[in-house]
Amino acid sequence: MVSHNHTHTAVRPKGLSDKKKTALAGYLFISPFFLLFAVFGVFPMLFSFYLAFQKWNGFGEMTFVGFKNFSLIFTDPLFWKSIYNTIIIGLLGTGPQLIAALILAVALNSAIVKFKSVFRVAYFVPNVTSIVAVAIVFTVLFSEQEAGLVNATLNLFGISPVSWQTSEWGAKIAIATMIFWRWVGYNSIIFLAGLQSIPKDLYEAAEIDGAKKWQQFLFITVPMLKPIIVFVVFTATIGSLQIFAEPLIFGSGFREESMTIVLYLWREAFTNNAFGTASATAVSLFLLIIVFTTINFFASNRLDKSGK
């Protein structure tokens, strides 16, 4: 390519060929993203792999400690507890949420509902609300006191007050509720987009054949939505492995009931100044996400094959 162009450029006084200029301009236009990504994305990631084998308090010299950081966190019951918590909160927060999102999307897609765009905006609002504000409001709702809104409501049904912040399941349910509220609208908008891409004639044909509404849903809607469902499950899985701000604000003082992996990482780095073990946690989380994504991947492939 270069040598071929050379004969042309020999005629020109100086500089690049037009083609190269266009290419260069193109690269320059997209370069901001890559530069920022290199500085704020790639470099920190590589650096944290490096840090995972060092002992460092944020100041002073780093010392190489081999796998000691990993053995420190792997022998810490709280680390395993944080993984357990993350998975439980993730399941509680995303499982019911995806089902609810699908139902909401179907309802919104049906002809009965008026003011569709109003609903769409309303669904999306929680997702763009500041996560900190959400967590603070929910902290008030899930107050441990009997007079807290949730406890007072439970009381109407004769259920005794729950220690939302300090009990094993209370904390998890409260945090899962926050996640539910924040993401259900987002996911239903995505489902809605998927629903609208399903051709209408499929439903018409089914209706002529005498299929009931629930049959249409189960045998047309769900199979046609499969790619969307796979996408939503993927992102929800990765998202729930990174739950952080909610437990940080809600569960005061890094309590073990609400300790998630990222919160554990954060405590190591920013309150205990142990950047080595924090990075080792980050690397472990990275591997965990790979494992989960792989499982997801194979599961959805399976699903695809069995569908055909």
Partner: protein, 422 residues
């Protein structure tokens, strides 16, 4: 989110440009010295800086005030990266412990002659600003947070107890008396003596001759009896039902102040503002007297000069003026910052101080007395780890009815696990 955490962690390593900018600016105007200063909260230092600049036309001071957490995080990042720190940084007393191992990031204020002004300050306050061996001075003392006992006169009255500050002080001279009064109040009014586990424990902790660590950063809580005693005492009150369970700073906690649903609040001088804010209609109901058994300190800050500063001499001249007794008196009058210079306590403004909200008590005098009773203790760089785990154990005893001995042992295990990584 993970990415964000990484970015936070290592943005530090990537922000080298800003320093060279500063340098070139400084070289451009060699006569006029520009000082950047970072503070948190409302210090009122802007006004004092104006005053200083009038007398020192060659100095220009730029004060940037941010919220408490943001301030300390930004400072940690800047100091860790070795770039972006200001000429003068205010650091809160608990946060200064994080920098014990980072002497090389600060100027030793003893090199500027800080020894000469040492006697003007409370000894315990000064000591925390020094390195363990006393050869290095991180910062000059600003305000302090001596603690006293706030109490609800109406609750005391309902329990048939005296309400006058002097009599209450006589009634509750020590912790045994405190527990007895707790029993009386519980019996007569059904209310807890204190709203929160943490504040009672902290009050006891602050009166111990040694706390969590010694100067060699060795963990003392298993060898020395004091912290365990404080723990046991708090556990005892919890198990008898004398303590409330509102988390610090929660809305319920604030509400309880107005409603008077508990009897005493063991808190520092700056809590006066918090009480007034949370309980605007309770003027005259909250009174203040001496803390049982002595006093403690909660909060207060230091002014440090990060090593990056190009004008350390000028910065030092300014801060030693700013925290001199005369200026501390002004900060007290304007913003309620409690002075760390005892000579101020004899000033007429202090002697004749009266707070109508607190029933006309001379609160300044109560806190001044407390300030002089605070024990000199070494806190240590891992103070926060131990504190947080012990409070967790106490919370479990209260909320989960957990076995206190088991909780104590668990807490020590958790503490040691974290200390291993330091």
């Amino acid at each position: 989110m993970l990415l964000l955490a990484f970015v936070f962690m290592f943005a530090t390593a990537c922000s080298n440009q800003s320093q060279s900018d500063n340098e070139s600016k400084d070289k451009g105007s060699s006569e006029k010295v520009k000082l950047d200063m970072w503070v948190f909260g409302s210090t009122g230092y802007e006004k004092l800086a104006e005053e200083y600049m009038k007398d020192h036309p060659n100095v220009e001071i730029k004060i940037q005030s941010t919220q408490f957490d943001d301030h300390h995080n930004a400072l940690f990042t800047a100091l860790s990266a070795g770039s972006g720190a200001p000429d003068i940084a205010m650091i809160e007393v608990n946060n200064i412990e994080r920098y014990r191992e980072a002497q090389d990031r600060f100027y030793n204020l003893y090199d500027f002659g800080a020894k000469d002004i040492k006697d003007k300050y409370l000894d315990w306050k000064w000591r925390i600003g020094e390195s363990a061996d006393g050869s290095f001075l991180f910062g000059l003392p600003t305000d302090i947070g001596p603690t006293a006992m706030f109490y609800r006169a109406d609750v005391f009255e309902a329990a048939g107890l005296p309400t006058d500050p002097a009599e209450v002080a006589k009634l509750i001279p020590d912790w045994n008396a405190y527990a007895e009064v707790a029993a009386t109040i519980k019996e007569k009014t059904g209310k807890p003596i204190a709203d929160n586990v943490e504040l009672v424990y902290n009050a006891l902790r602050d009166q111990a001759p040694v706390q969590y660590f010694n100067e060699k950063e060795e963990l003392l809580i298993e060898k020395e009896p004091y912290i365990k005693q404080a723990y046991d005492y708090t556990v005892n009150l919890i198990q008898k039902g004398y303590l409330g369970s509102n988390g610090l700073w929660t809305p319920e906690w604030g509400n309880a102040m107005e409603k008077g649903s508990y009897a005493t609040l063991l808190a520092p001088a700056w809590m006066q503002g918090v009480v007034k804010g949370n309980a605007p209609n309770s003027a005259g109901k909250w009174l203040i007297t001496n803390m049982p058994g002595g006093a403690g300190n909660w909060g207060g800050s230091y002014l440090t000069i990060p090593k990056e500063s190009k004008h350390a001499k000028e910065a030092y001249d300014f801060i030693q003026w700013l925290v001199a007794p005369e200026q501390q008196l002004k900060s007290f009058k304007d913003m309620g910052l409690f002075p760390s210079t005892p000579s101020v306590y004899d000033a007429p403004e202090f002697k004749e101080y009266k707070d109508e909200y607190f029933g006309g008590v001379n609160t300044a005098q109560v806190f001044a007395e407390a300030a002089q009773k605070v024990k000199t203790v070494y806190m240590g760089k891992n103070y926060g780890i131990v504190q947080s785990e012990i409070v967790k154990a106490l919370t479990n005893v209260q909320k989960k009815k957990a076995d206190p001995e088991k909780e104590w042992k668990e807490a020590i295990k958790r503490i040691k696990r974290q200390l291993e990584r330091q």
